[in-house]
């Protein structure tokens, strides 16, 4: 496939992460989907909303749960050129958190800015 054909296929895709990390399979499955999509060099934006931001908390230790944990995987996103990570400010405030509590660098935005980003997308996937 030529470079031009590849260029044509790039889509703007947003993933809206909404679930806490270990209560459901959503965040883990979502992260897998993001990495696969990243391998196809799509224009990816991640938005963390509600309990979704809890998946980014530092100091998660799942060893006593007997599962591997996936929070460190978020640090590898940069390697897939996935660098647009946004966090909803109200969700942070509600949970008494700041961006310093999170394992990756994020931009903290309000819901108006989030809506603007949503409206730029060609597809939105919830996790």
């Amino acid at each position: 496939m030529s470079e031009e054909q590849t260029e044509e296929k790039i889509k703007k895709i947003m993933f809206i992460m909404q679930k806490a990390p270990h209560g459901t399979i959503y965040p883990y499955e979502g992260l897998e989907f993001i990495l696969i999509t990243g391998a196809y060099e799509q224009d990816i934006t991640l938005l963390f909303v509600g309990d979704g931001i809890l998946a980014l908390l530092k100091n998660q230790d799942t060893s006593e749960l007997g599962i591997k944990g996936f929070v460190k995987t978020y640090r590898t996103l940069e390697g897939y050129d996935i660098e647009k990570l946004y966090v909803d400010k109200t969700s942070l405030d509600e949970r008494g958190l700041t961006s310093d509590d999170l394992i990756v660098d994020v931009d903290v935005i309000d819901s108006n800015e989030a809506n603007r980003l949503m409206n730029e997308q060609e597809a939105i996937f919830p996790f």
């Binding site: 909404q18 909303v49 819901s111 989030a114 809506n115 949503m118 409206n119 597809a123 939105i124 919830p126």
Partner: protein, 97 residues
């Protein structure tokens, strides 16, 4: 943009969260347990009334009937599955979990 909500607002914060991100003029579709938000007389009535003034709010007919909801909040439109398909094909869909 079409925002879909399938959880009861009384057991999940998904509607409350979604409301912060819905811009005037965008569409909202309530389905499955999400239709409880469209039931008249609840603490969500005022919120849904205000939402329906600025946005199009739909509730899936089959889900409303299945739950025995007789009175919907004014402004909420009943949608059948055909309308659901029309909405999904005409909009970017934003699903609130």
């Amino acid at each position: 943009m079409l925002h879909t909500i399938n959880k009861s607002p009384f057991s999940s914060s998904s509607l409350d969260t979604a409301l912060r991100f819905i811009k005037d003029g965008e569409s909202v579709l309530l389905l499955e347990d999400g239709v409880y938000a469209a039931m008249a007389g609840t603490t969500y009535e005022k919120i849904i009334l205000e939402l329906a003034e600025k946005s199009s709010v739909f509730a899936i007919s089959a889900d409303v009937k299945a739950r025995g909801i007789e009175k919907l909040i004014p402004g909420v439109e009943i949608a059948d599955y055909g309308k659901f398909v029309d909405l999904v094909s005409a909009n970017i869909v934003n699903t609130w979990l």
